[in-house]
Amino acid sequence: MFNLSTDPINPKSLADSLNDSGVGAIVTFEGRVRDHNDGKPVTSLEYEAYTKLALKEGDRIISEARKKYDILNAHCTHRIGHLKIQDIAVWVGVSAEHRDTAFASCRYIIDEIKKYVPIWKKEHYSNDEAVWVSSATDSA
């Protein structure tokens, strides 16, 4: 399931929600707000989403991951709004019987989310005007 949240992400409670007695591996990914990008000092990030389509697209990606990989549970939450340095911007977690599946499917989900979900990020700098960045220039 895919969510958008204006509140801070709680990684522990999200990871706990993936567990059950058949789970042998849980892999999680946290995308965090860095204090720099492309040589510029970043002071904060602002995320905006096309909510209805982002939720549909995020759920589609997780459904695709379930078809491609033998996953037990999968979840992604993406923050929206104004985030501070080191806030968690996106969290992905996958549980499976074995680690190979958990690693590969977690990677698949974050890569697809970054490519396709209509979410935008504006970088604020200490010494320059804020700009909307595109994922082509982003290596997070």
Partner: protein, 82 residues
């Protein structure tokens, strides 16, 4: 040509370029491609259509889809989640 009323939503950089998050237009445009061409000429949007995706009524569609009266259309600038 049929005139139709189309509701347009803007996000992120396109919203800032248009200085609006939504507007309603009466247009002769038959497709999202034609409508974007009309809007780009009026508002000097910096994105070419190849940079964008388009959604009608919260579903991704092709730029050659037919526009219908009352559609809500969103031109989607390059995304940058994560």
């Amino acid at each position: 040509m049929n005139t139709k009323t189309i509701h347009i939503c803007y996000f992120a950089s396109l919203r800032e370029q248009r200085k609006l998050s939504k507007e309603t237009l009466v247009t002769d445009s038959e497709t999202p491609a034609a409508l974007y061409d009309q809007l780009q000429k009026s508002h000097h949007f910096t994105f070419s259509p190849e940079d964008l995706r388009v959604a009608i009524n919260d579903t991704f569609v092709d730029f050659k889809n037919t526009l219908n009266d009352g559609d809500i259309i969103t031109f989607i600038p390059p995304v940058a989640g994560g």
